[in-house]
Point group: C2
Chain length 484, copies 2
Amino acid sequence: MWFWRLKTSLSVSFRHIRKCTTYTKARQIWEIISSKPPENGVPLKLQGWVRSIRSQKEVLFLHLNDGSCLANLQVVGTPDMGTSDLTFGSAVHVEGRLLPSAHPGQEVELHADRLEVIGPCNAKEFPFKAKKRHTMEYTRQFPHLRARTNSFAALLRIRSQATSAIHKFFQDQGYVEVHTPVISSNDCEGAGELFQVEPASSTVLKEISEDSGKETKHFFDVPAFLTVSGQLQLEVMASALSRVYVFGPTFRAEKSLGRRHLSEFYMVEAELAFTQTQEDVMEVIEMMVKQPTEQILASCPDDLHLFYKFVSPGHREVVEKILTSKFIRMTYTEAIDILRKHSENFKFRPEWGHDLQKEHERHLVRHCGSVPVFVTDFPRDLKPFYARDNGDDKTVAAFDLLVPEVGELFGGSLREERLETLQDRLDRLGLSSSYQWYLDLRRYGSVPHGGFGMGFERYLQCILGVPHIRDVIPFPRFPHSCKM
Amino acid sequence: MWFWRLKTSLSVSFRHIRKCTTYTKARQIWEIISSKPPENGVPLKLQGWVRSIRSQKEVLFLHLNDGSCLANLQVVGTPDMGTSDLTFGSAVHVEGRLLPSAHPGQEVELHADRLEVIGPCNAKEFPFKAKKRHTMEYTRQFPHLRARTNSFAALLRIRSQATSAIHKFFQDQGYVEVHTPVISSNDCEGAGELFQVEPASSTVLKEISEDSGKETKHFFDVPAFLTVSGQLQLEVMASALSRVYVFGPTFRAEKSLGRRHLSEFYMVEAELAFTQTQEDVMEVIEMMVKQPTEQILASCPDDLHLFYKFVSPGHREVVEKILTSKFIRMTYTEAIDILRKHSENFKFRPEWGHDLQKEHERHLVRHCGSVPVFVTDFPRDLKPFYARDNGDDKTVAAFDLLVPEVGELFGGSLREERLETLQDRLDRLGLSSSYQWYLDLRRYGSVPHGGFGMGFERYLQCILGVPHIRDVIPFPRFPHSCKM
């Protein structure tokens, strides 16, 4: 009752506030363009950056972009508005009236009563030029300005929509989002090289030591690292909330400079209690690829069109195939059999017990008709300690998902929930003492569970056909480079 | 057209998948409880953890919880199902049929045909006991198990809903979410002590040096730190996309062990291009407090009720007042005038040019009737270099939002967009050379803009009335402590 009263009174006040905002502030181009019916005759203020200028005897045409969508709005002014400050890249404030446009593909244009350059732009020094398509290699040199290009702005909008679609997928299915920690004292998961964290100023350590009355070498008393995966902490939460996920940054201190590697990247990880088989987890993954992708296609048609037309022609069909196909399932052993029949094509001989190389992954995906392929039941020695033992003394219930062009996109497994089996494994690896808390999860109401992780940037590469991972993240970090 | 066809065909296949999932898998309690009309007679599987057991002559009552909601489902079995393994905290699998319940407040109960303990729990060693309310100080000692308590599970669900509500607020208003980097080479913003990042293994540095043919002391060639704020990178993006936000982790290497400080915490930051006044930014903040809070109240009534009943009685009224009041605005100078009239109450004498102390913040909020207060136009020397100069040679367009109980919840400002003014400021501070990229944003189409940051954990403290910040984050990090 209380909630209801509150809700009613608030929604009234919000409407009020929102109305005021719209009225007194400048409008965004996406609002103007998506307004149905078109707002002919409406007087408004508009602010944005100049994308093109065409001056004729009687009339001045401008294309303005404000980053709210790919489209520019055409502004029609008088020639005297064309001052020397009005250049490509400058920021302007326009007041005028919307009128029907003769321009095909745009229903309205803004007829300017007043036009003011609020932020000039030295067009000679500005690294981007009017009407020129810059390569991704070129724009990558200007991380603080590249969002001013059509393609990178489109990427950022798609990335935001993709993030939103993935959250929606999990929330709709009752998953609880958990912020697993970035700084972690787990150091022995073996997922890759770690970054270590300590205060930049040694004074802090001294203060902390004095504070506690005992000397310490570390801010947290123990060595602390940037997370390589939130999985173990997610398992903690799945052991109480059943379904959990995290969408956050993860780190690798590796020297790799490849097209699929970054030192800082985003992972989507989920953990489900009460699983029975790898299939339970793979079903969720298949939906988690298809539903958000479908939503992105529906919500960003123009931005995607730019990619499929100019960046990766033909890629739309690749995505369409992923969406309309049932993903293939095969065991690691079957995969090796397939690969061995084509041994002559490979630099690395496919052999049971060895990891799949990129060339093998590519072959398997092609072999399956360029449809995503789950490779399941990997050899125990190729997967981390927590993967559930299949009981055949050889394999574990762990799998990868391989996709066209990108290769490995997901890794997942059932987790070993049997206390004794896990204890044995940790003992053999000499890890028992640091994982008592992890064993506790198996001591107090242990349940079968499983989960997966997906590299978010690779997902974007997969749906957009962007070759280099540095072009799908706002501020790429890799060896030798940490700009801004 | 293509999208439409795709969408139709997919939504058919998703329905198919979802139906299979529901049918073959165990159900979650929130689905069962929220099902209208109640699913009387439906056979189903259920899995969860035992919260209570009551054995009578003819019948065995269990309360099961699976973390999907606060409520337990009552299970009715036969006395022979009560094996010695069936204890508080154990995990069970039940198959049975839903029937109308005589229990008040629950429409259905599960009559068990089969009950199996899948994960026993040594109730003596398990740190939580049946029907006992544990204090937050006590549960905090078991970060890997505390999600098994009602109150921390409720906190996690509310935290997830709050995250979702904040994303929804920004997405609805056309903001683009930007993942600003966690690792950053900005080192002089002065927001606090920094954590520095290097590879844990020195081998990596050696490899990188060899790789590039020149020796390097740092993985990224320059010192790199954990971010204290994504603001500067958000400004980059607002200079192209107009409205952007980030919801991510930030870090402080400070020795503080207080109730409002963590070494790793979450910040919500937004940046808006084309602002005119501080009011433009404050309006967004006021909506950003009210709309998501209203949504959380509507989506988590039971979990919130637990807090308002047991953790912070009376706090519901505090929140209701925040939601229904117009936030107060006063300048810093007015605030100092108010405080000086009550100087005798304070340990720290309020004086123009000095920072507000916690006791001052508390007084100002009480003075305004326990309504949130914006304190605007701070002295220039108290705010960072980027705050926009008011032109009075004294103050800048920067403000804080103070809220009941928590104190400072938001900080925000207009950013200096005038090239010369900013250049002068940076020159005086000796920072010009490291901020050329930041000056570039003012060289190429600069626009007036502003933004804000909110500490997410403090927001949760504010709406839940939780005194200690360590009780609103899954894995708290602070000096001497980085568990798991």
